[in-house]
Point group: C7
Chain length 287, copies 7
């Protein structure tokens, strides 16, 4: 806490001058080299844009960002050099360090999500949770993976929207492209229709789809009528489950629904009312 | 922890005075230069207002904000100088630094969201997640990007509202203007109508739109009937999907809905009831 | 960590007394001046109440608050002075500082939202996100801005309620008063009515409003029928969009809805049922 | 870090004894005076209970709380004294301070919401956001303010429930008692009734209320028919807006609704069905 | 940072041995006394169980918990003693303290909710927010207060469930047992019935209840017809408000609802349909 | 901060060697003993599995976990030893401790939920909030307590699912097995049926259940008709409340509902419509 | 705080050189060995991919990740070495350490979720909360456990989607595969049908299922009619509960629902309306 060396000696003065010189030279060097390095790496990231739209725009963007990064680096290096020289001449750095800690807390807390992104990305890659081309659900978004790196995952949703999800936002991963899937079809029939007949119809149509040459390659196990899955006031829900290859889960379910709907309508096993169901929300045009 | 130098020496006194003088001169310099710099940069930000409404208002705003910033800078510089001088004369700065750490925690935590904004903005730009003119969804808000900088993104929603979203609030980005989109049209038909006929009608109209010279440039792949996507108690939903250019996704879907609605009505494939559906909420006048 | 100077010397005793005296004088000065300053600035804030209700109440409030602030300032100054004197006489301040750090953490964390308010307010002003008179949406509240300062924004909602929103609570800002707005009218028509005729009627009425001298100045671009935006079980929604001046968005939409409703009713293009729609919640009397 | 003075000297021993004695005397004094002060201030808070139910209960409560506070104070003072004496005899306090920092973090974090309460309360009072008697909405609770102090706001909801809301929980304040209010009445009419006639009836009744001597003083501007605010499948909503004195907003809206309901029923402009609306939830008896 | 005293002296050795001995004796004492104290206080808490079920179970529980607490205390005391002795012999404690800080952060953060509980409890008691026997709403739970202490509040819900709510979880308190309550009855009548007649009937029955000797003592102010509070598509809601004693709010509202229901049914002012309302969820048997 | 002792002396070298040896021996000892202790305690926890499925699996699990714990312990002990020796030879440990603090923050924050679990568990046990066999609601999960320890509570839900809830996740506890419960039966009757007759029937049946020898022991107070608890558009809800023994609350309510339903059906006091209620969701087969 | 040793001595210079050399050698060693170790362990994790898709892809992934880890390790080791050497030559490391603390806070906070994952995983394994093959519910996801390790749990949902859930995200665990389950069937019958008869039918069919040889092994206790569990406006819900083996809970419930539905339909105890229930949402094709 003694801020100034109490005794001034030539020896100390020489040593101090030497150190100061050394620090200045090193600062100059790291500032130069660091700037060149930062400039190059940012340029390479920014021009290697996800969708590869090279051209003047990405060039310009890279220039701007590299400029920002180089400025920050220089401020950092020269502040460090200044503090070290002050330390050499014996000034108490306490107040400066206290001031720096304010910036430090802000930077540290602000940057923690970046660390989370990289850590999360590391484990996603190391544990091979998903790969490019898989259909996954992360952070309430479903889509096909287009690109993964340590910081971000890029998805393409079914409506063509590209979603950029930082890996740190991913809490749990649902991957629908591993080994097998299961097409689950819930058929609602009026409670007063003949359950035995309806079940037979459903069974028949489900089997027909599975036997259809177009679909038979996708079906890993024959369809199974699981029974009445839900019982409402005047209708019941019969569930059919079929083990399929992962990618054919949804198309197969749609095909089964089409055929079963057609048969039930043909055989008159639908509610006869013409009053429409109240609960189908109109297809929103949010697309 | 020995607060005062135990021996008073002339040498020490002289050194102390010198240091004090030096600190005062430096403080004066940095206060002056810093003020000028702060004043200028804030003025340039504030008069370069997002929507470029130059004029007396932005001038006055700049003056006020620059005044606040300059005051804060001066308080900071002179506090630092005062503490350094106290350190030079040998006063124990512990209590002051402890007091400062209170302010530091508050400032650091309060400012962390600012750091987040800039970091987030840096990656949005570096990874080219979106650009001015793209239609994106961020922070539950959809709109056309009007401006991006390191701290904030400005969107224009479809109803004309301008949304300012700090980049740190952006957790995931949905960009609907990359490469292609998909127009998805869900057609609800009564379960007791003829599914085969209805599907044919839908197919026909969708193909007609795709072949229409007005739309054919927007259609990247011919429309595809995916099948029965959902099965309700007395109606089923048939989904049509068409790959389009990104910007034409919604208009094309609207056009298809118009034509299919018209045909189904003409051909009598709609529920005959006149009892309105219960679930359409009235169009809210929140606009 | 040697709490007491091991050697007692007259020289040290004299220096200590001098320092103690100096600290006491400075503490007295800063306590006096600080109190006067705090008192005045709080009075000026509190009597300059948002809605300018000068009078005995605001006077009394100012007195109370200034009293609280002055007390806090005095406690702070004299605690600092006491600690400095203890440091001068050589007492180890460790335990006191540890005790103070408890208070510091609590104060620092508690005050971080204040820092956030000011930082957020600074950027709202510097980036001119909104100004007095604009209709904005912040923190789930929509209203007309009545006052902005660095800490708080005051809104007046449409029902006359005044909302005080600390700027730090504002995550994204929606400003409906920039350049232009868009009046969006969704017209619901029964699915079994003639879509072509209905569209013609809607087109006609929308154009009539736009041509009406009362409204023509507000209309920046002629109304556009976007097509069928949503398709329900037994009704479809046709969307009309009109570019307007920002402030006329809602009134114009209401006028269009009135005229279109009238025409559709006159021409009999409404559901004929008398059974009321189930989903309109009764207008809540929460006002 | 040398825990014990390496040389034992009489001088040091005497100085140590003196310091120890001094610390003990000071600890005794602050313990005594502090206890008395804590006891009195808590008693004054606790017996000055919000609803002023003086009597044996509040007396007893005050005694208990004061006992707790005095015990805590004594533990604190004597721990400090003990640590100071240990410091005087030269024991390394590191382990103790590390132990204390655990308590410190817990206390500091636990107490931050208290700091928030006071800071928030300070600004509510300084900015005069609301006063006793105002009808406000804070923390999802609406009611009449019965008491405000720096820590807490007491509301009386319309059903008589008293709500104690710590000021730190208040994120935004809605004050319905400033300058003026606006009575907004949404009238739902069947889409197939004559809109022109219905609007005329609504206009007439609204004007009649405004002209009524009972209400005319509350009406600041004549009622205004804003037009069709929402369009449902088979009904439309016409909005009437009237600028009123703040307190009369809700009663005036109720009166208008009564009269308009009566007229519409008398003139037969209501849905003729007897099937009740499905969406009115039964009035819950949560009161 | 010089970890070992560079010079070994007999004097230092003796002093060290003395200190070591002293520390061991003190550790032994505090371990013994602390254990006894911890054991007793925990036993007294645990056997003074909320619902006073003394007996072997609470005895056994007390024994277990006291065992845990005593072990923790001993580990703490002897660790401290060990560290102090290491400090005396001159070992650098840095690594140990750094290790301890890990535990400290975990303990401190984990324990902060405990501090919150006590602080919150202190203010609940000091400000007399509620007392045993009051009906209150805290943390989304309504019930009668059965016990309050500094850490926890025990409620009895209407279905007999006992809720233990730590005071720190209480953000705002709703107390329905202060001074008065208001019985609010919302009567739904079909929009096509005669509003004047219906209002008269409601007024009559409400007044009859208020005049009833059974209820008249509970009624503080005569019932007031507030008017039409909500207007639906085919029904309107008339609100009656009566100021009552706090405890009679709900019973009085039920009585009024019974009588008004009876009269409206007798006078035929109910919807004539037999189609049940869709929205009453069946009484869940969650009890 | 002088990293190396400036003077090398034989004495210092010898002392250093001695200390190094001592540290190594102690490290060896604590590593050995600690490993054995960790191994044993983990084995005892892991083989004493909640559901007591002793056997090879739990044996193997114990071996794995003990291996992990022993490795961590060894790393910790030898790192400490290494740092102490470095300190003895006079190396500045600053960089190492700074590096360690990174790990420390991560560990400390990550482990805070563990501390919360134990603290929460301590109070649950000490205050006897629930015991094995009680039916409780914690963390949105209801079930019968099967086991409580300091870290976790194990519940068995009514469908047989076993829920493991860490005690720190428990914010409030609802215990339905204390002293008494209240069977609350809400009977919905059409608004146009005779309320007096219906109430009489309900009263009669409720009394009959209470008098039934099967149930009379469970009934602590005779059933009470509370009156009309809710009033809908075309139905009203009459509430019956009966004080019971805690465990018989739900069965008694079911019995009452059965009998009242039967009587009301027999006496024709039910809605005559055959149109089913719309709101009963079908019994989901989530079980 | 004296940054440079004030006296330059040959002895000190030699010692410094020696230390510097030693540090360099050690850094080289740990860099080499650490790299090899990191490389190997990451390779073993990454090639031991969850679903064992060995091959070029996992090989390549391992190479990339190992490269990243080795680079990070080298940066860390050489930074530490650099700082130690600077310390040896007597440079004040304060500014460097302050700079490092920024990185430290970010890393520490970012990594805390990793620590949580491992801690949580440790307790899941130690307390045997679930094992491979169990059907569990964690983090709102239900599925069959396919793999557990200390960091992550892998589930297979019923539709074939694989869910990766980090253990730290698991707050409470529901395990449906312990000892027994309970098949709960809620039968909805119209309120106007004969309750006694319906109950008899339900009882009969439930017993028939339990007696059926296919199911009798799964039934641990005979089915029990619990009574009327819920009472709606025009229907009541009768609950049947059967204790089963854990895995047969859902299939048995489906079988019972099928048989009871069939019988009730055959015996005419269903609502006769043909108007479909409004609330069954159509089976979404989210699969």
């Amino acid at each position: 806490m003694i801020a100034l060396r109490s005794g001034f000696t030539l020896e100390g003065f020489l040593a101090g001058s030497l150190w100061t010189l050394l620090i200045l030279v090193l600062a100059l060097l790291s500032s130069r080299l660091g700037s060149r390095f930062a400039d190059r790496s940012i340029r390479s990231i920014a021009t290697r844009s996800p969708l590869r739209e090279a051209g003047p725009r990405s060039e310009q963007r890279a220039t701007t960002l590299a400029g920002v990064a180089v400025s920050l680096l220089r401020i950092f290096v020269w502040t460090m050099a200044g503090l070290l020289i002050l330390g050499v001449v014996g000034v108490d750095l306490g107040p400066f360090l206290a001031g720096a800690s304010i910036v430090g807390v802000a930077l540290g807390f602000g940057a923690q999500s970046l660390v989370k992104d990289f850590l999360s990305g590391f484990f996603i890659l190391a544990e091979d949770q998903y790969a490019v081309g898989d259909v996954i659900t992360i952070a309430d978004q479903t889509g096909t993976v287009e690109e993964i790196d340590l910081r971000i995952t890029r998805l393409r949703a079914v409506d063509g929207t590209v979603w950029f999800v930082p890996n740190g936002e991913i809490r749990k991963v649902g991957n629908s492209a591993k080994d097998w899937g299961r097409a689950i079809v819930d058929v609602v029939i009026p409670r007063k229709s003949d359950l035995t007949a309806a079940t037979a119809v459903i069974q028949e149509e489900a089997a027909a789809v599975a036997a259809d040459p177009v679909w038979s390659d996708s079906v890993l196990e024959p369809p199974e009528i699981l029974g009445v899955d839900a019982m409402g006031v005047d209708n019941i829900t019969v569930r059919v489950s079929t083990k399929t290859t992962p990618g054919q889960r949804t198309p197969l379910a749609r095909e089964m629904r089409s055929r079963i709907s057609y048969r039930l309508q043909r055989d008159g096993m639908v509610a006869e009312t013409t009053i429409p169901e109240a609960e189908t929300p109109p297809t929103s045009s949010g697309d």
